[in-house]
């Protein structure tokens, strides 16, 4: 299954190993996100990642399929964790394979950028004393819009 949304721990090494084994195409890119152990003001001890599970599956599938068509991917895989995570735990794993590296890289970055703004997950950081919902970043919105601009070019 190309999309997995799970409350269980994910193992990006095992996911990468399996993807490389199944899809040894000329160019394979991966991205893995881990929980930060710091934010702007303090040490992060735990992260609660809320998820609208049914919608997340649909959105990630749509993003993967869109990337596959736009960048002529041979294969792709998106795995996203939710629930309570500790610092340095993996949150997200994306892999893309293509005949050429430009496509593999672009697709992987496109999926990550789109996932940040379009997939229904919400981060709440716990530093021991208090819990803070993470605000959506303008930088993420801008990165997302890069791909929309490109859509408009003839």
């Amino acid at each position: 299954m190309p999309v997995i949304v799970t409350a269980n721990a994910i193992d990006p090494g095992a996911l990468a190993t399996e993807f490389f084994r199944s899809h040894p195409d000329a160019a394979v890119a991966t991205f893995t996100g881990f929980v930060r152990d710091f934010n702007e003001t303090s040490r992060v001890q735990a992260l609660f990642l809320e998820c609208y599970v049914e919608m997340a599956g649909k959105v990630l599938t749509s993003l993967g399929e869109g990337a596959a068509s736009r960048f002529e991917l041979k294969a792709w895989h998106i795995v996203h964790r939710f629930g309570t995570l500790t610092a340095k735990e993996p949150i997200v794993f994306v892999a893309t394979s293509a005949d050429h590296r430009a496509e593999a890289f672009s697709a992987c970055e496109f999926i990550m950028d789109a996932l940040k703004t379009d997939a229904p997950f919400w981060k709440q950081e716990h530093d021991g004393a208090k819990a803070t919902w993470v605000s959506a970043k303008l930088a993420d919105e801008n990165r997302r819009n890069r791909w929309v601009e490109e859509d408009k070019t003839p």
């Binding site: 998820c51 609208y52 919608m55 997939a119 229904p120 997950f121 919902w133």
Partner: protein, 96 residues
Amino acid sequence: MKKEVVGRVNGTMTVTVKFFSLIREAVGEEQTTITLSDELRTVAQLKTHLGQRGEQWREALSHPNLIQAVNQRVVFEDQLLKNTDEVAFFPPMTGG
């Protein structure tokens, strides 16, 4: 399918409404069921209706960055609702 038929037999058309993150915390509920009527057929009308539950509800649902989804797709406020639709309200997403 079955759910929709049951709704019609009972003579009511309902939607399920879900709340996430800050919005869930503000309204103090994860999920509620609302009966549609001639005056309650769009997402905007649903927001007005829920806002009558109290100031917390009204504030949360009038947040300028609020996102609304129907059947797991982001929609505009004028989206028409039909029996058994799943509506969700949440703030901008911060996954990845």
